[in-house]
Structure formats: structure tokens, C-alpha cells
């Protein structure tokens, strides 16, 4: 290894060498352009400023906070606060209006549907499904059968006070007798079940005189003439294709023998009134609202 005191220019490339030679191989000096260098220095200075101004250095429980006091959580809170303020004009109106008036107002109805849709995903999908399609024992909210009534006001009442929910004195309450215990013999249950099945053409149904008499004696009081249903009492219609606990003859017999009853929370105890109204407007808009 050797070096020279003179600046040397490489013949082939015309570039200055650094004077370093290894085994006859010379190292060319190709310096960085100065603008690049200053940009590099600039980024270092920027980084120092950033470390001072913003949270940067991780510590055991958290990080340095930075003189600007910025935090992404705080920034999110600010944005949520702003969003709330922006929504206040709608939310305040919704809180002060009846659900019928909200539905009649295009702008408010649109806002309520959007808000209701997101609240629905949080609180309702666990039972009613993400598409509000329900399931066995959980009503489908898209269809046109409503146990407690399908007007937006009736839906609002149901959501606000729930069904068979003890903590709310205004909750919907009804109970179908356990006919299998004492009221009816197994033969009578079979007979009335076949009659009920015949009302909507379920396979195995038979409209016998005995069944009809049993139905009129035991069922019409709640389920209405011809099984038309009575939303005020929460008695489902029996003359259509929609069955909460299954639509085969066996399902019907099981329900008459030992009825099952669902329970729904009173959401007014957990959510504010405007949110419950938004939910009602949303559910009402799913396609079956009356």
C-alpha cells in the first residue's frame, strides 16, 4: 500500500483518485454532491427538533411526551369531540322529536339510519345477526311479521323497554301457558297443532272440528280469530309463513306443549334516548317496517 502527495487523476475515467492504492488498484474519489450533504444534515436537524417536539424516546412505562404535548390518543379524542359537536345539531333534534316525525324528515331519517346501523352492529347483532336476519328464537327484523308491532313507534317502544326484562317496569310482558302440563292432553295438543298448521298450509296440518274447537277455546284470546296475531299482546300471527321457533308440525307441537319465551334487554336503561330512536328508525327501514 502506498500513497502519493499529489492529487492524481485517473486516466481512464478522468476522475480524481483518493491516492489509495491496493495491489495497483486505485480508489476513485467520487464525492457526494453538496446539496445531498446539506439535505442529509437538514434531516438530522429535523430529527432533533422532532424528538424535542413530539413523543419519541421509548421509556419503561410510556415514552417522552415532547414539548408540544401531542399524543395520538389525544388527537383521536379531539377528533371524536369534533365529530360529536358536528353531530349535535342532528342528535339534539332527534332527541326532541317523536320517531314518526324523524322518519318524515328526510335528512334526519338518513342521519338516524346511519347512526342506528352502527349502533345495531354493537348491541344487536349478537342475537339478531349482523344482517338482522335473526335465527331460531330470535326474530328476523327484515321481514313483515312483528310480534310487538311493526310501526316505527312500536319498534321504538320494544327497543326502549325490551321484552320480559325485569329491570324495566314498562317492559313487554306476556306468557303462553304451558299446555303440556295440565291444560291439554297429548292428543288434544296434537289435534290443535294440526289445526294451527293447517292455517298456513304447513305439511301435516288438518283442520278438524276438534282442533278448531280447541283452538277457539284456548288460543283465540291471544292469537286472534283465525290466528291473525295480536301485536298489542305480543302474540305472533299463526296464519303465515313466519315461525319464530320453527315451522314444522313437530315444532308447533313442541311450542304448544312447552312454550319457549325470548328475552330482550330494555335498551333505554343503557343507551340514551336519541340512540334508541336512531335504532328504531334503522330497524324500521330494513324492509318490513309498517
Amino acid at each position: 500500500m502506498s500513497n502519493s502527495h499529489e492529487r492524481e487523476v485517473d486516466e481512464l475515467s478522468g476522475t480524481e483518485t483518493t491516492g489509495h492504492v491496493w495491489d495497483g488498484i486505485k480508489e476513485l474519489n467520487t464525492p457526494l454532491p453538496r446539496w445531498w450533504l446539506w439535505t442529509f444534515y437538514g434531516t438530522i436537524i429535523w430529527a432533533i427538533g422532532y424528538v424535542i417536539a413530539y413523543p419519541a424516546i421509548p421509556l419503561i412505562s410510556g415514552a417522552t411526551s415532547g414539548v408540544l404535548g401531542y399524543s395520538s390518543r389525544g388527537a383521536l379524542d379531539d377528533k371524536l369531540e369534533l365529530a360529536k359537536e358536528a353531530q349535535a345539531v342532528f342528535v339534539d333534534q332527534i332527541a326532541s322529536m317523536s320517531v314518526d316525525d324523524i322518519v318524515a324528515n328526510d335528512e334526519l331519517a338518513r342521519f338516524a339510519r346511519a347512526g342506528g346501523a352502527s349502533v345495531f352492529k354493537v348491541y344487536c347483532t349478537q342475537c339478531h345477526g349482523s344482517g338482522a336476519q335473526g335465527g331460531n328464537g330470535y326474530p328476523n327484523l327484515n321481514d313483515d311479521e312483528w310480534i310487538w308491532g311493526g310501526s316505527v313507534d312500536q319498534i321504538y317502544t320494544t327497543i326502549a323497554h325490551g321484552a320480559r326484562y325485569d329491570a324495566d317496569p314498562d317492559t313487554h310482558i306476556n306468557e303462553m301457558p304451558v299446555f303440556g302440563d295440565d291444560y291439554l292432553s297429548p292428543e288434544e295438543i296434537e289435534s290443535v297443532s294440526k289445526y294451527v298448521a293447517s292455517l298456513s298450509g304447513v305439511e301435516g296440518g288438518a283442520a278438524t272440528e276438534e282442533g278448531k274447537t280447541l283452538f277457539e277455546d284456548n288460543c283465540v284470546a291471544c292469537h286472534g280469530e283465525g290466528g291473525a296475531g295480536e301485536p298489542d299482546l305480543g302474540a305472533p300471527a299463526l296464519n303465515n309463513a313466519i315461525w319464530l321457533y320453527g315451522g314444522t308440525l313437530a315444532d308447533i307441537e313442541a311450542q304448544v306443549t312447552r312454550p319457549r319465551h325470548g328475552e330482550m334487554p330494555a335498551w333505554s336503561l343503557k343507551l340514551d334516548d336519541a340512540t334508541v330512536k336512531e335504532l328504531a328508525v334503522y330497524v324500521h327501514s330494513l324492509g318490513g317496517g309498517q
Partner: protein, 527 residues
């Protein structure tokens, strides 16, 4: 204890070493830029470049102010990129976001066009139309007007600070910044109604993004065009690297014709009198003085050369004065250049060492002095036409024609239908099945339209809107100009009538007045 006796220098090993980074020999890690002071050139290419500059800058600054009547429902700006409403207007063409493939097609065309241009006329983009080149040219005009031409500028640069230097420099930089502001200012007018935005801008009522854009573009224009200049092309731009792959031996490049220039001499007459061979180059360095990139074209084709051809103008001027043929520096292909070099070097072609030293001027000129021998080739336009460039041109024009065809035949009424994913279907109390759809009717003309939506091919099917209208098989809807009409549509039928699952049927949007129709095949799901 080491067994080294003091006062015995023979015991200490001496090294034949010198510090690599000794203060006296240490090389700088970073090189300062050497300023380039391009001299004003005159000639055909300079005139052409003035024209291109006038045209490109004119198009850039004036376009946003041109108007184009589109009726009362659409903006009247000739070119408008309406980001807020997601529309792009260019004369009679209106593009919606889903038609962005036009822009993609334009970019592909621009790419292939660049290949085409490069493989034929070399780096014409760099030399004439690249914004960097145009704006540097503009900034140089300002610099020359204020500080004088090359020699005056070099003198001023070397001079100590004085009142004269301060005001000239100040005026120059202020003018540059004003040009930068105008550049950024023109840019924002493409994105909003120009007169309105201008009024708002000067009254400080414009959106902050407008001021930020102008500030950023002012900074980049001033920095790139005024301060960094040739360094942008040399260090920052990828195109000089890419062009190496694009050029071939038939591409036009700005070439110093060594075969007639060498041996160069400042004392041509004296040399000739002494009987020594002498070429046409008188080593006047006029080509170096005008070069905005600070290179010597006589070193051959270089990465830095943007082929602005100003050295051709400079050299042609000198050749005219000397009474010699123009074109010592000229646009030439490598192929022709190599041929001419072979002629110039005679049978010395395979000699070792610097080829230039083997050039014999007598080989290229006719003995009577009347021009060049016949074997010398002049590059002409025929070099442009060859399979490669024809292929580029074919692909380029095929894309262009395809785009024009699509543009001419595109529908301005569109129907989008999205089936509900959850639930797929809903059973109704009367035994019917209902499917839900999100329907969008797109009226892509700036006129209000009446569109008929029809249900076709679903046995017993009927549709209604979510707002509770009656079940029908055909409904008439008013669609606002240049808007999307979103609908929540329910379709229901008796599942016993279905012939397949899922059942396919059609939704048809028709505008009878315009004779336009959009059909969508839709699925009807059932248990």
C-alpha cells in the same frame, strides 16, 4: 522485561508507511458544485427552443383560463380536475373516477411515446420540452437580462460584494421567486374555477391547500430552476439512466464529428502551413461556453448531455465564419459516426490506443477540397424509420385508436346493482321471498334525465323502493344532471315460480329520449 537495549536504533523496526488521511493529502469528502455560466446561443436550434418555450409555457399558463360551455349543470372551464366532485373535464370529454383508465392509457401512451421519441431523435424530451429544461431556460433569460452574458456573470460571481452585485442578485432572485409563484399559481387553477380561485386567492379567502400548493411549487421551481439547474438532470432525474437502454446506434444524438474535427488546433493555419494534418475544430470552446450542463460535447456522448443542441448552434456559427461546412457538431447516429470514423482512420482502424490520434483529415475530404468523400455518410431522416420505431409507433397508435374508440362509443348512462350479502334473502309472511339490492343509476351527462328502470325475466317478480312505494315491474325515475341516483330496491316473488337457484334476471335502465340503455344481469337468491 523486554530485552531491548536503549540507544540501539537497530532494534526498532521502521515502517515504510504514511498516514492515508494525512492532513496535507486528505481529499475532500464532498465536492462543491462548480457553477455553470451558459453563454447565449443563436441559431436555428435556439430559435426552435424559444418557440417550444413559448408554446409550453403558454399552454401551461393560459389553459386554466380557457372556457368551454357545458350548459348550466357543469363547470365551464376548458380543463378542470374537480377533485372535490371527482370529475375531470377536458373540452367535450368528461371523465368519472371509474373511467380513470383513460388516464392510465394516456400514461402508457406517454411512456411508449417517450420510447419512440428517444429511439428516434434521442433525448428530445430532455433537451426541448422537459419542464426542468424550459424553466431553467426561462430563469437563464432573467439571469442574463439582469447580470449580463457569460463573461459578465463570471466576473460578477468572482467580484467582492458591492452595491451593484447586491441589487443585481436581489433582483434576480426576487424575479425567480415571482416566476415560481406564477408557476405554482397556474397549477392550482387546474383544480378549481380559475377566476373564482384567483379572486379568493388574492383576497386570502382561498382554501389553505391552495396556498400550500403554491408555496411548495414556488420553492421547487426556485430551487430546481434557479439554484440546482443541471444538477437536477445529472443527479436526481432517472431518465438519463433509462435513456441508455432506449438509445441504439440509429438514434439521433448530438455528436461531435471527430472524423472531421481532429486533430483540433487553435493555430490551424500555422499547422497547415507546416504541412501538419489539421481538422476542422479550431478549439474555440464555443460549444463549451453555451452548454447549460457544463460539459464538453467533444468528449463524446455523455449522461449529462440533454441534447439541447445549443452547441450545434454555437459551432455552426463558428464554421460559417471560417467558411467551412456546418455540422462539425450535429445530430448524428452512432452508426453513421462509426462509418465516418472508419473512413477517417483509413486502415488504421484496428490500431491500439487513442483512436483520435489515427484520424487523417485527408481521408475524409476530396483532394480538390470540394467537400467530403462519397463514403462519408450524412445522417438523414431515414434513420428514424426502422422496425423498432415502427413497432413503438404501432403500439402507441393502437392504444390511441383503442382509447378514441372507447371514448366515442362509451355509455353515459350506467346501472350498478349490488345484491345484499347479508341476509341473502328474506322470507315474507305470505310465503314470498324478498331480495334486497343497492342500485345506482349513473347519469353521466350534465343534463337532467328521466330513466325507466325495468325488471325483466323474473317470473311473478315485482320490485319496490325501500320508501314503501307500490310493487311494480317498471318505474320512472328522475336523475339529476351529472349525478348518481342511489336506490334501495326490494325485489320479491313466489319461490315456487323460480326455475333455478339462484335465479338470474335483468334490471334495465333506459333513457328513451337519448336512446341509451344499460342492462345488468342480477341474481335472485332463495332458500
Amino acid at each position: 522485561m523486554l530485552d531491548i537495549k536503549k540507544d540501539d536504533p537497530g532494534q526498532i523496526e521502521e515502517f515504510d508507511a504514511e498516514a492515508v488521511n494525512k492532513a496535507g493529502v486528505r481529499q475532500p469528502l464532498y465536492a462543491a458544485r462548480k457553477k455553470v455560466f451558459p453563454k447565449r446561443a443563436t441559431g436555428n436550434f435556439r430559435r426552435f427552443k424559444w418557440l417550444v418555450m413559448l408554446l409550453t409555457l403558454g399552454v401551461y399558463y393560459i389553459t386554466p383560463w380557457l372556457r368551454w360551455d357545458r350548459g348550466p349543470y357543469a363547470p365551464d372551464q376548458f380543463v378542470l380536475v374537480d377533485l372535490a366532485n371527482r370529475r375531470f373535464y377536458f373540452a367535450f370529454i368528461e371523465i368519472w373516477p371509474q373511467e380513470f383508465y383513460y388516464v392510465a392509457g394516456m400514461l402508457v401512451m406517454a411512456g411508449i411515446g417517450l420510447f419512440l421519441i428517444t429511439s428516434t431523435v434521442g433525448r428530445a424530451w430532455c433537451g426541448y420540452t422537459c419542464p426542468q429544461t424550459v424553466w431553467v431556460d426561462l430563469f437563464l433569460v432573467v439571469e442574463r437580462a439582469i447580470e449580463g452574458d457569460r463573461n459578465a456573470r463570471m466576473k460578477l460571481d468572482a467580484a467582492p460584494w458591492s452595491f451593484d452585485k447586491v441589487w443585481r442578485r436581489l433582483l434576480k432572485h426576487v424575479t425567480w421567486i415571482l416566476i415560481g409563484v406564477a408557476t405554482g399559481g397556474a397549477w392550482i387553477f387546474y383544480f378549481a374555477d380559475a377566476p373564482t380561485l384567483f379572486w379568493d386567492f388574492v383576497h386570502f379567502d382561498a382554501p389553505s391547500v391552495a396556498y400550500m400548493t403554491v408555496a411548495i411549487l414556488t420553492a421547487t421551481t426556485y430551487t430546481f430552476g434557479g439554484i440546482m439547474r443541471e444538477q437536477v438532470c445529472t443527479y436526481m432525474c432517472p431518465w438519463p439512466r433509462i435513456q441508455a437502454a432506449m438509445l441504439d446506434e440509429y438514434s439521433l444524438t448530438v455528436t461531435y464529428n471527430e472524423w472531421r474535427g481532429e486533430p483540433r488546433s487553435k493555430h490551424a493555419k500555422k499547422m497547415a502551413a507546416q504541412g501538419k494534418p489539421v481538422g476542422d475544430c479550431v478549439d474555440c470552446n464555443a460549444c463549451v461556453a453555451v452548454c447549460p450542463m457544463g460539459i464538453d460535447i467533444r468528449d463524446g456522448q455523455q449522461l449529462e448531455c440533454i441534447t439541447c443542441a445549443l452547441c450545434i448552434d454555437a459551432c455552426d456559427g463558428v464554421m460559417d465564419k471560417l467558411g467551412k461546412e456546418r455540422g462539425l457538431i450535429s445530430y448524428a447516429t452512432l452508426n453513421d459516426y462509426n462509418n465516418n470514423m472508419r473512413v477517417a482512420m483509413g486502415h488504421d482502424v484496428h490500431q491500439q490506443g487513442d483512436p483520435v490520434s489515427h484520424i487523417v483529415p485527408a481521408n475524409v475530404r476530396k483532394p480538390d477540397g470540394g467537400g467530403f468523400v462519397d463514403r462519408i455518410r450524412n445522417t438523414n431522416w431515414r434513420s428514424i424509420i426502422r422496425p423498432r420505431t415502427l413497432l413503438y409507433f404501432g403500439v402507441w397508435s393502437a392504444i390511441g385508436i383503442a382509447m378514441l374508440f372507447i371514448l366515442a362509443t362509451r355509455e353515459r348512462l350506467d346501472l350498478n346493482v349490488l345484491h345484499d350479502r347479508n341476509p341473502l334473502y328474506v322470507m315474507l309472511s305470505d310465503g314470498a321471498v324478498r331480495n334486497g339490492y343497492d342500485v345506482k343509476i349513473l347519469n353521466m351527462t350534465p343534463e337532467p334525465r328521466q330513466v325507466t328502470l325495468t325488471l325483466v325475466g323474473l317470473e311473478g317478480g315485482a320490485m319496490k323502493l325501500a320508501d314503501g312505494s307500490d310493487a311494480v315491474t317498471s318505474m320512472v325515475l328522475d336523475v339529476e344532471p351529472d349525478k348518481v341516483l342511489p336506490l334501495r330496491l326490494y325485489v320479491q316473488t313466489d319461490p315456487k315460480l323460480l326455475t333455478e337457484k339462484p335465479q338470474k334476471f335483468e334490471l334495465v335502465a333506459t333513457d328513451a329520449d337519448a336512446g341509451e340503455e344499460s342492462r345488468v344481469t342480477v341474481k335472485f337468491e332463495a332458500p
